[in-house]
Symmetry: D2
Subunit: 349 residues, 4 copies
């Protein structure tokens, strides 16, 4: 059985394990105040061209999301988010558990918000005579890539950033799969753009080659203040914080992060091409490591004999979209095996 159901079915890139083994007996301070974390922070600041940024390492995405959102919002505020956003549908209400409403906005299959839509939502809030009876929008949450692997363009992010600035909203980008976004074919969004347009975002490690870990980059001065208290309160302050620093240090030295994500993207494009050649349309276009082909229901068990995939959603009474993911660990042989299987299924149509 070959696993394509998600991008966290294996351990970590071997370089990371090597670094852990090599440094195992070195004694350091805890809670992220060690030299490895410091070096990793320096590399991230440099990569973002943001010498003033604060960098914090957290263990996972849900933790990063609610910690950032709780730190940013006042109690009467909520976070604007595409209705398919991870915080809205896949985190067991972690944001609401901190007291804040997720203000879900409609979005297409790409899972993106646009500047006009955000502006309309905020304007309509303030124009309503009873706005004090409603949750005030305080932040915009996006993911890049989105849940279905789509990317924002630099222009789209600039427009969203401008709306956020005009209306006093924080802009937060969930980058759980940011490595794939930054290395996707044709993207014009770099780390530098995120650092200048967002108030806070993160570089995901868990889904991009690390054992675990997310590097939160805090740009806005208001959010910087006392951020470590929030991490501790939310259960995100790893005692052996160096484990996080070491992993990001390894990923960012010699651009490992980017090279492994780029390779996974290319493998995913092969899979996408195979799907389309086989006559399976895609739920939404994706240039990153997740692909969402639509298959006739009767083919799912056939594909499932040799490969794992995620059931994504029902498309019509006879068809479903599935998710196929590549990762740093996906081999070309595995990719080829999957593509062949897909093409065979296509002929069976």
């Amino acid at each position: 059985m070959i696993y394509f159901n998600c991008d966290y079915t294996q351990g970590a890139h071997p370089e990371i394990l090597k670094a852990l083994v090599k440094t195992n007996l070195v004694q350091t301070d805890g809670y992220g105040e060690d030299p490895y974390c410091e070096k990793a922070r320096a590399l991230i600041r440099e990569a973002c061209k943001a010498p003033e940024a604060d960098i914090h390492f957290l263990v996972g995405g849900t933790q990063a999301n609610f910690t950032v959102i709780r730190a940013a919002l006042r109690p009467h505020q909520g976070v604007l988010c595409p209705v398919t956003g991870h915080i809205n549908v896949h985190e067991t209400g972690a944001v609401e558990a901190t007291g804040h409403k997720v203000l879900a906005l409609p979005c297409g299959r790409e899972g993106k918000l646009c500047a006009a839509q955000i502006e309309a939502a905020v304007k309509s809030h303030y124009e309503d005579a009873t706005h004090e009876h409603q949750v005030q929008p305080g932040m915009v949450y996006l993911s890049h890539p989105t849940e279905t692997g789509a990317l924002y363009t630099r222009e789209e992010l600039e427009k969203i950033g401008a709306v956020c600035e005009e209306w006093g909203l924080f802009l937060f980008v969930d980058g759980a799969r940011l490595g794939y976004a930054l290395t996707a074919q044709g993207t014009d969004v770099g780390l530098f753009d995120l650092a200048r347009l967002c108030d806070v975002f993160y570089l995901g490690g868990t889904k991009c080659g690390a054992l675990f870990g997310e590097a939160v980059v805090v740009l806005h001065p208001t959010l910087k203040k006392d951020f470590r208290y929030f991490i501790k309160q939310g259960g995100g302050m790893l005692a052996k914080g160096r484990l996080l620093g070491l992993q990001f240090l390894t990923l960012l030295q010699e651009d490992l992060y980017f090279s492994i994500c780029k390779k996974a993207n290319l493998q995913a494009q092969k899979i996408s091409s195979a799907c389309q050649a086989a006559g399976f349309p895609m739920l939404a276009p994706s240039v990153t490591n997740q692909q969402f082909p639509i298959l006739p229901d009767e083919l799912l068990p056939l594909l499932g004999r040799d490969f794992t995939f995620s059931y994504w959603e029902r498309v019509d009474s006879a068809h479903s979209a599935i998710r196929l993911c590549t990762s740093w660990a996906t081999t070309d042989e595995e990719t080829d095996a999957l593509c062949s299987a897909i093409l065979r299924l296509g002929k069976a149509l």
Copy 2:
């Protein structure tokens, strides 16, 4: 200027003030443990034919809603609710502030949920392999009448009650305007039905003739336990609790509650008839004290010269729905004046 914008523009029915004045110097215990509260509880239990019910008096609707919901749900649970439900749109996220997601379901202009829709939502939760990553439905919240004045039938409530029982959901009915529902023409839902079908509901006082106050009727044993702690924690335990007991005692003695609401319904029907005679369609049919006619935008300022109303929503580029409410304090003269004005506006079309 005559106020039709809401049903709480004046004080209370004169009988209530009379009772307050009469008992003012009587000394009683506080926090709802006085004889007036006890008598009012007995009357409500009798009216509901629910001798085992616990009755608690709270000051207002938002307070009643979040107190009940917080008492009922475990932290990973949310409350199913029509997307237009008061807790979803008009309480500044009070439910989320207690840590729970409002699971908004689509609804038509009537603002109602149906049993099939609730069942589908719960089933889809449990059938999803990643349901532990999602908020678990734990309660259904309805209002009767709905936000746009519509009513459930007994059969509809019975079906919803059956789904709730099957899937282990609490059923909660917000009765901020329950008096109007119970006395509306043609309804087959009585207090007895609510008491046997719901786990908890309330009889609204604030919008039905009292100065303030909601009488929460708790039927389910699990919800009864320690409920007074929740009231106190949520800021809802009035020191001079007798004020609430006295008001409900006055309203329920000699059926004052029902007679004043019935009269307001009849006045509202007159207004509805005038609107339709004038050629103004209704946003949704309502047999209760709130009416939502759709008017051409240019007529709004004309109507607004002599009458207040609530702007409800934009219907198309040239038309808007407004809300007109009657109450215990609405006189027939005021109703007639409004109807005449509407008919005149109709001719001006």
Copy 3:
């Protein structure tokens, strides 16, 4: 049976009921945006000599406390409070329910904090190398009078205010019984002092002659912003907000608030003198309307034949402190009857 167990056993001062009756049919906007509220606000601003203050009317004390504290603190902050403070012991954890720790500091029987103690607590927080693992003090909560009826002097408040300003703490005074504090014999603290020294405080109505209601005076600009959202979210926005405005308007016109509280203080002093003459020591000195004599346990049932009182605390194996309260409704006859009974009990010793 004559009630001395608390200061909310009866309705309201008759002038308040008169005002409610007189204005009952006047139509106004809801939610505190009516002319009565506006006038009451103007009177309070004037009495405080604080023309820039924002005034909000809430229904009760617990509600006022958690609404103010939630509005003021960021999630990692807590509120410093005497260990006997109302928010620490008598509000069912309402502050914790909003996510904030009550940082209880030791205090004597008077129930007061002092500036040095507050400063020591804050300094020790910041000096601890692991302060990010601890709750950051963000506010100081006092009550004036305290739970046992004691008063701060102007100098004490000035010193506390200076510490708060130096360390960036908000200063919040719970004035549930403020009327008694302001009119107590020998006090040098006036409304003007509170307005210049606090960031937020309230004038209690519930325990000072109103049916219910607390007038929150917000001085600090940061706390003013969006405060009405917090009121609504916490369930404190009364639909018929005018009821609150009208009550404070009545209390503050012609100094009714002050005259009724002063009279109750004088009656309480008589009771205190009787206790001491009878040989019963006081738990702590009080110049306000609550008195806490210490009685032999066997006398409690004797006193309880004709008078209600609150059991306060066990003092030793044979003695207990009880609470005796006067209020606007206490008559001189009732006071005299209580004093005679106490003197008789003293002779029985």
Copy 4:
């Protein structure tokens, strides 16, 4: 510089890294549903002789604490805890952030609660006429060993367990350093005792040889239900959950967990003996891996030249207690070096 300031200054026991490297490319499901987690669960159940126990792996202690407490308590309940307990003083109010008050009880320097004290607290709650205005005790939180390294005896835990059962309190033992407790000289408390007396407890990994991780053992049926939702909501569900399973599997196979903790205890006893031989009294007796000698202040910088330690607390104007910890990584050479240094300091007295 040799680190004795805490027990998490290094990586993990080499066997753990070996296991991670060996299994790195194996593909498994995520979120703790992999074969390594299953095997580790089986070993823990066996070690506890609790075949019905549910075992969940979380990343860290603060996370484990608030997740368990939030799952167990209803909103009006709090958790009884020694005033020095970790949740009360070192987790940035994480428990309060979930809405619950920590009900701190006084304790001696050993940091222990006793059954009588717990019973008195609960009785006094229910006997108070205004208990609904107070937080209801719902759980007892202990740590074993305590913050200062002390241990409960089996009899003490049995008595506490009996009080908890009688009063309907959950009993929760924080076992962040449980390995040291279970292998301490003279203890009569085994895993089996914890499993039969507690409703929930955890075996700490982070401080007992793992990179990170705590194994939560849930015994009480009520707490078992839906526990994975709580883990996800609190940010504690590791995507690559196998990392946790693998570590506990490694630690529990061939009793590695116990042998490394036992060795650290012995080293700590050597340090304790050296301190006492040198004339430095201990703050509290400890038979586990943490020792708290009291030193004259002027000796601290001398000791600090070659060794790190934690400053613990001021004892008097000239003396302070410090913390010295051993761990799986402490060598006998390091221990000897520290003991010699302490003895030298003693001579300098």
